[in-house]
C-alpha cells in the first residue's frame, strides 16, 4: 500500500519524428484513474501524434509509456485494445449497415466457437446502454442513429473491450448543445467508474465544463499541466499560442447600411419552415441554433444548392431566381460550406486549381485557362491571407484545416461576391488561425459586403455578430439586436422556449436532429425563463 499509487497512464519523454518533421520533440502526459484530462494545443502541436503513439498507430522513437507504473510497448492498435486503451476518433469507426449490437461486439463476439450468441450480445449491449444511460435499442442499424447516439455506441464499444483509458478526439464537433450536456454526463459517470479519460477539443468552454486537469502542448513540446480550475480561458490560449492575444475576437469598424438581401417565407420540407429575415450592408448577421435547426439548409437555399419549395429572395430590391449555385454566384452570393473537405474543396486538385474553380470565367480566354494570371492572383492571396502552402501545386488535402479554410475564402474573395454566407467558419480550426479568419470576415464587412454567419459556437456568435438570429426546427424563434449585452443563456433560452411551444416529442426527419429518443424537459434547465423576460 503505497500512499501514492502510480498513475494509470504516464507518457514521458516521448519523441517521434517523421522524415523531415519532428512531430513530437518532447511529449509528456500523466493520466490518473478517475480523471478527465484535457490535451490542448493548436493544430500541429503534436496532440494527434501523441494520441496515435498511445493508440499504437505510431511507434515512438524514444520515451516510455507506462500503465499502472509498468512500462509497456503498444505495438499495434490491437495491442492497445488488450492494454485497455480505446480511442474514439472524430470520424467514427462504425459499420453503418450493422446494428448497434453488432458494431459493439464486432471482432470480439462473446461466446465460444464460430457461432455468435445473439442473446448474450443483446443482454450485454443493453447493460452497456443502461450504464451509459442511453435508451437505445441494440438492434437499431447504426446508419439510423443520430451522431450523438453513434458516439454512445462507440463508447459502449470501448467499454465492451474493458477499456480503462478512453481517448476522445473532438467528441462534440457534431453535437448540439443539449447532446453535449448529455455527453458530459456520460463522461462524468465514466470518471466516477474509475476510467481515465483524455479529452481533446478546440472548444475551451468544454474544457472548463468537464475536465479536471489539462496538459498543453505547443510545437511538439510539452508545455505544462495544470488543474483546470487554476486556469483561465485567456491563460490557456496564451499557453497554446505562446503569446498574448489581445482578445479572442478582433474589433471591427464597419458601417452598417441599407438592407441588401431580403428573404421572405423561405420553405423546404421540415428543415426550413418559413424563414424571413434581411441582411444589411456591412453587417455580420449571426445565425445560430441547435444542430438540425435548419440553419445550414437556409444557407443552401439562398445559394441554390437546394431548391426552395416556397419563398422569395430579393437582392437590392430585385427578386432573384436562384436555381443553382451558378445562379447564386452570378448574382453575387457565395457560400463557405460547413464541411470544407466534402463540399468546399476538391481535395485531389492543387490549391491553385481549387482557388480558380469558381473564377475560371475570369481566368480564361477562349476556353483556355490563363494559368499565369491565375498563379499571380493566387500568389497575392497566399501572401495577403498568409496561407501556408509549400507551393501552388500542393494538393488541397495536404493543408491544415485553417489553411484549407483560407483557400476556400480566397476563392470566394476572388469571385468578388457581395453576399457571403459562411457556415461554421472556424470549425476544427485552432485558436491562432481562428483569429485570422475573424480578421478576414471583419475586413469583408469593412469593404461593405454582408455576411451571414452560421455558427454553433455561442462565444463566436456573440463575439462576431452585429445581430443574431436564433433558429429552431426550421423557424426563426428569436432575434437579438443588442449583441453587446447578450448572453449565451439568452440564446439558449429562445431555443428552450421554442422547444416548449412546439411540444415534445421532437420530430425526426432531417438528418442530425438531436434527441430523437430522449424525453425533453425544458424545466430541468437552469433559469433561462427569467433571463429572457
Amino acid at each position: 500500500m503505497t500512499p501514492n499509487p502510480p498513475p494509470l497512464l504516464s507518457m514521458t519523454n516521448i519523441e517521434k519524428s517523421f522524415p523531415g518533421v519532428r512531430a513530437i520533440k518532447h511529449g509528456q502526459l500523466e493520466l490518473q484513474a478517475g480523471e478527465v484530462h484535457a490535451l490542448l494545443g493548436e493544430n500541429g502541436a503534436g496532440k494527434s501524434t501523441l494520441i496515435k503513439v498511445l493508440s499504437g498507430a505510431h511507434q515512438p522513437d524514444s520515451g516510455t509509456l507506462s500503465i499502472d507504473g509498468v512500462p509497456v510497448t503498444v505495438a499495434s492498435p490491437f495491442n492497445a485494445q488488450d492494454l485497455g486503451i480505446a480511442v474514439i476518433y472524430q470520424e467514427f469507426n462504425l459499420v453503418p449497415a450493422l446494428s448497434a449490437r453488432e458494431n459493439i461486439f464486432l471482432g470480439q463476439e462473446p461466446g465460444n466457437g464460430p457461432l455468435v450468441s445473439k442473446a448474450q450480445e443483446r443482454r450485454l449491449a443493453t447493460e452497456l446502454f443502461e450504464r451509459l444511460d442511453m435508451p437505445l435499442s441494440p438492434e437499431t442499424l447504426c446508419r439510423d442513429l443520430s451522431v450523438a447516439q453513434q458516439q454512445v455506441v462507440e463508447i459502449a464499444k470501448a467499454l465492451a473491450r474493458n477499456a480503462r483509458i478512453l481517448v476522445m478526439d473532438e467528441p462534440t464537433a457534431a453535437l448540439s448543445q443539449r447532446e453535449v450536456e448529455k455527453l458530459f454526463a456520460i463522461i462524468r459517470d465514466l470518471r466516477g467508474q474509475g476510467l481515465g479519460i483524455i479529452y481533446v477539443s478546440h472548444r475551451l468552454d468544454e474544457i472548463f465544463a468537464v475536465c479536471d486537469r489539462a496538459t498543453i502542448m505547443r510545437d511538439g513540446e510539452y508545455i505544462t499541466t495544470h488543474e483546470v480550475r487554476d486556469l483561465s480561458r485567456e491563460r490557456i490560449i496564451e499557453l497554446m499560442v505562446g503569446r498574448k492575444l489581445e482578445s479572442e475576437f478582433p474589433r471591427r469598424h464597419s458601417e452598417i447600411g441599407e438592407a441588401r438581401l431580403q428573404v421572405q417565407n423561405l420553405r423546404r420540407g421540415s428543415a426550413v419552415r418559413g424563414v424571413t429575415f434581411e441582411l444589411k450592408r456591412g453587417e455580420i448577421l449571426g445565425l445560430t441554433g441547435l444542430v438540425g435547426a435548419g440553419r445550414t439548409e437556409v444557407a443552401r437555399l439562398l445559394f441554390g444548392a437546394d431548391r426552395a419549395e416556397a419563398g422569395r429572395i430579393f437582392l437590392d430590391g430585385r427578386e432573384l431566381n436562384v436555381r443553382s449555385p451558378l445562379d447564386a454566384i452570378r448574382a453575387g452570393i457565395c457560400l463557405l460550406t460547413e464541411d470544407r473537405k466534402a463540399q468546399g474543396l476538391v481535395l485531389g486538385l492543387s490549391v491553385r486549381e481549387n482557388f480558380g474553380l469558381p473564377n475560371l470565367n475570369f481566368f480564361s480566354r477562349l476556353g483556355f485557362v490563363r494559368r499565369l494570371q491565375e498563379k499571380r492572383a493566387f500568389a497575392d492571396y497566399t501572401r495577403n491571407l498568409r496561407i501556408k502552402v509549400s507551393n501552388q501545386e500542393q494538393l488541397a488535402r495536404n493543408l491544415s484545416g485553417g489553411n484549407q479554410q483560407k483557400v476556400v475564402l480566397a476563392k470566394w474573395l476572388q469571385s468578388n461576391t457581395d453576399i457571403v454566407l459562411v457556415d461554421e467558419p472556424t470549425r476544427g480550426i485552432d485558436v491562432g488561425a481562428k483569429y485570422e479568419i475573424y480578421l478576414l470576415l471583419n475586413e469583408l464587412v469593412a469593404q461593405g459586403k454582408s455576411i451571414l454567419m452560421i455558427s454553433s459556437e455561442l462565444p463566436e456568435v456573440l463575439g462576431m455578430s452585429d445581430r443574431i438570429l436564433v433558429m429552431h426546427e426550421g423557424r426563426i424563434v428569436g432575434e437579438i439586436e443588442d449583441v453587446e449585452s447578450a448572453t449565451q443563456e439568452q440564446i439558449l433560452g429562445f431555443t428552450v422556449i421554442a422547444q416548449g411551444n412546439t411540444d415534445a416529442p421532437a420530430r425526426g426527419g432531417d438528418a442530425g436532429v438531436p434527441y430523437q429518443t430522449e424525453t425533453v424537459e425544458p424545466q430541468s434547465r437552469k433559469e433561462p425563463m427569467e433571463v429572457i423576460q
Binding site: V21, G44, G242, A342, G344, G348, L357, K388, S390
Partner: protein
C-alpha cells in the same frame, strides 16, 4: 526548420507527381529494353537492302568491268535482291554475266553452262541463303575455271526483332483503335464513371459505316460517300453516348449499370442492322484510313491518333472544361457549389466517349475492310485496362491523357513481345491479367502515399504547414 519542412513536402509532392505521371513511362521503357534484349538475334539483310551491301562490297574489292554472277533463291526477297543487285552493279560499271533464281541445282546448271561457254567470272553475288549452298561454297574445287571467283554475300548482323521497323509499325497499328477509344474512356474515368458500351459501339459504328457504303454504291462508292458514312457512324455513337450520359445525370443511374444496358442495346442494334453477318462490299479505297501510310511511312491512323492525343491533352491540361472534368470527378458536390455545372460536363464526357468509340469502329472497319457485329467484343476491358495501367484512378479526379497512351502501349508491347518470344496465347492472357491487377494495385498503393514502402511514413500534414512559430512574431 520550417523551410526544410516545406521543401520536403514540395519534394514529396513532386515525387508523387512524377511517379503518377511518368512511373509507367519508365515501366514501358524497361519493357522495351527487355524485349529488345530477348529478341536480339542474327538478322540477315534482305532484298534490295542486301543488294546494296553486296554491291558496295564488290565495288570496294574489284575493278570496274569485272564479271559478276548473281545467285538467289526463288523467294520474293531474293528476287528483289537479284534485280536490285543487277541494276546496281551495271550502274557501277560491272558486267553481270548471269542471274540465277532457283535452287542449288539451277545454280550448278548455270555455272556449268558458263564454264562450257568459257566465260570468266570474277565474283558471285549471293544472298545469305544461297551463299550457304555447297555448290557456291566449293567453286574453286568444282569449277577450276572459276577458281578466281570470290563469293560475296550480305553480312548478317545482330538486331532485335522487336525493334524492327515493321514490328514497331505493327504495334502502332494494333493499338490505334484501343488507344483512340481510351481517350474517351480516360475522360469518363476521371469523372469517376465508367463506360462499358464502347466495345459494342465499335461494332455498331463499323456496321453502320459499311452498311451505308454498301447501300450507296457498294464497291464503287465515292470518297464523299465513305467520309459521310464514317461520320454518320461516329455521330450515331456520340448520340448513344449522350443518352448514356443522360441516364446517368438526369436519372442518377450508376454509370456501370447505365452503360451496361447501353452496351447490350448497341450490340443488339449492330446485329439487327447487319442481320448477323459481315459486310464486305466496300471499295478498296476504304482501307486508306486503316492501312494507308503517309509521310515517312507513318500510317494515317497513327497520325490521327497522335493528333487526337495532342488535342485531348491540351483540352484536359489547359482548358477550363478540362479543369471542370477533374473537379467533377474529384468532388462533384464541391464542384457544383463552386458554380460548375456538373451535369453538362458529365453529359459531354459520355458523348465524347461514344464518339471516340465510333471513330475506333470506323478505323477497325477500315483496317479489316469489312464490318461485322462481332467487332469490339471485350474491347471495353482492354480500353479500361489501358486507362488504368496508364495511371488514371478508378475513383476519379485524377489521370493524364498521355498516361493512357503509355498504358495502351504497355499492353501492346507486352502482347507483341510475348508473341515474338513465343509465349503461347493462353499464357498471354494470364500475363495480361496479372499486369492489369498489378497496375490497379499500384494505383491503390499510390493513394496510400507509398506508405507500403515503409521508407517514408506519412508525416502529419498539419505539422508541416502549422502556424508561424510564436517566437518569431513576438
Amino acid at each position: 526548420m520550417k523551410l526544410s519542412q516545406s521543401r520536403n513536402l514540395a519534394l514529396r509532392d513532386a515525387g508523387r507527381t512524377f511517379f503518377s505521371s511518368y512511373g509507367m513511362a519508365v515501366v514501358l521503357l524497361l519493357l522495351c529494353i527487355y524485349y529488345s534484349w530477348a529478341t536480339l538475334q542474327t538478322q540477315e539483310p534482305k532484298g534490295d537492302a542486301a543488294a546494296q551491301t553486296v554491291a558496295l562490297q564488290i565495288a570496294g574489292a574489284l575493278p570496274k568491268g569485272a564479271n559478276v554472277m548473281i545467285v538467289g533463291t526463288t523467294s520474293d526477297e531474293d528476287n528483289d535482291f537479284v534485280t536490285g543487285a543487277a541494276k546496281r552493279l551495271q550502274d557501277g560499271g560491272y558486267v553481270v554475266v548471269g542471274k540465277v533464281l532457283g535452287d542449288p541445282r539451277t545454280a550448278r546448271q548455270a555455272l556449268e553452262k558458263a564454264a562450257r561457254g568459257g566465260a570468266h567470272i570474277d565474283a558471285i553475288a549471293a544472298t545469305p541463303a544461297s551463299a550457304s549452298w555447297p555448290v557456291l561454297q566449293n567453286i574453286p574445287q568444282k569449277y577450276p575455271a572459276f577458281s578466281a571467283a570470290r563469293l560475296y554475300a550480305a553480312q548478317s548482323y545482330r538486331w532485335p526483332l522487336f525493334l524492327q521497323r515493321d514490328n514497331l509499325l505493327n504495334i502502332a497499328n494494333q493499338i490505334v483503335v484501343v488507344a483512340v477509344i481510351a481517350v474517351g474512356m480516360t475522360l469518363v474515368i476521371i469523372t469517376g464513371g465508367i463506360d462499358l458500351s464502347v466495345g459494342s459501339l465499335v461494332a455498331l459504328a463499323a456496321i453502320l459505316t459499311t452498311l451505308l457504303i454498301r447501300n450507296n454504291g457498294a464497291t464503287e462508292a465515292s470518297t464523299v460517300t465513305m467520309i459521310g458514312a464514317g461520320l454518320a457512324g461516329i455521330i450515331v455513337c456520340a448520340l448513344i453516348g449522350w443518352c448514356s450520359g443522360l441516364t446517368i445525370t438526369a436519372f442518377r443511374l450508376p454509370p456501370f449499370i447505365a452503360t451496361l444496358g447501353v452496351m447490350q442495346i448497341a450490340s443488339g442494334l449492330a446485329f439487327i442492322l447487319s442481320k448477323g453477318s459481315s459486310i464486305y462490299e466496300v471499295p478498296d479505297g476504304f482501307t486508306i484510313l486503316g492501312r494507308g501510310s503517309g509521310l515517312l511511312g507513318i500510317p494515317y491512323a497513327v497520325m490521327m491518333m497522335a493528333v487526337i492525343y495532342g488535342v485531348a491533352h491540351i483540352l484536359m491540361a489547359r482548358s477550363k472544361w478540362g479543369r471542370y472534368v477533374y473537379a467533377v470527378g474529384g468532388n462533384a458536390e464541391a464542384a457544383r457549389l463552386s458554380g460548375v455545372r456538373v451535369a453538362p460536363v458529365t453529359l459531354m464526357v459520355y458523348t465524347l466517349s461514344g464518339a471516340m468509340a465510333g471513330l475506333g469502329g470506323v478505323v477497325l472497319a477500315s483496317q479489316l475492310k469489312s464490318g461485322a457485329p462481332t467487332y469490339g467484343v471485350s474491347y471495353e476491358l482492354y480500353v479500361i485496362a489501358a486507362v488504368v495501367v496508364g495511371g488514371t484512378s478508378l475513383s476519379g479526379g485524377q489521370g493524364k491523357i498521355f498516361g493512357t497512351l503509355i498504358g495502351a502501349l504497355i499492353i501492346a508491347v507486352i502482347q507483341n513481345g510475348m508473341n515474338l518470344t513465343g509465349v503461347e496465347s493462353y499464357t498471354q492472357r494470364v500475363v495480361l491479367g496479372v499486369v492489369i491487377l498489378g497496375a490497379v494495385l499500384l494505383d491503390m498503393l499510390k493513394h496510400r502515399d507509398w506508405r507500403w514502402l515503409r521508407l517514408r511514413p506519412r508525416p502529419e500534414p498539419p505539422v508541416a504547414v502549422s502556424s508561424p512559430s510564436p517566437s518569431t512574431t513576438s
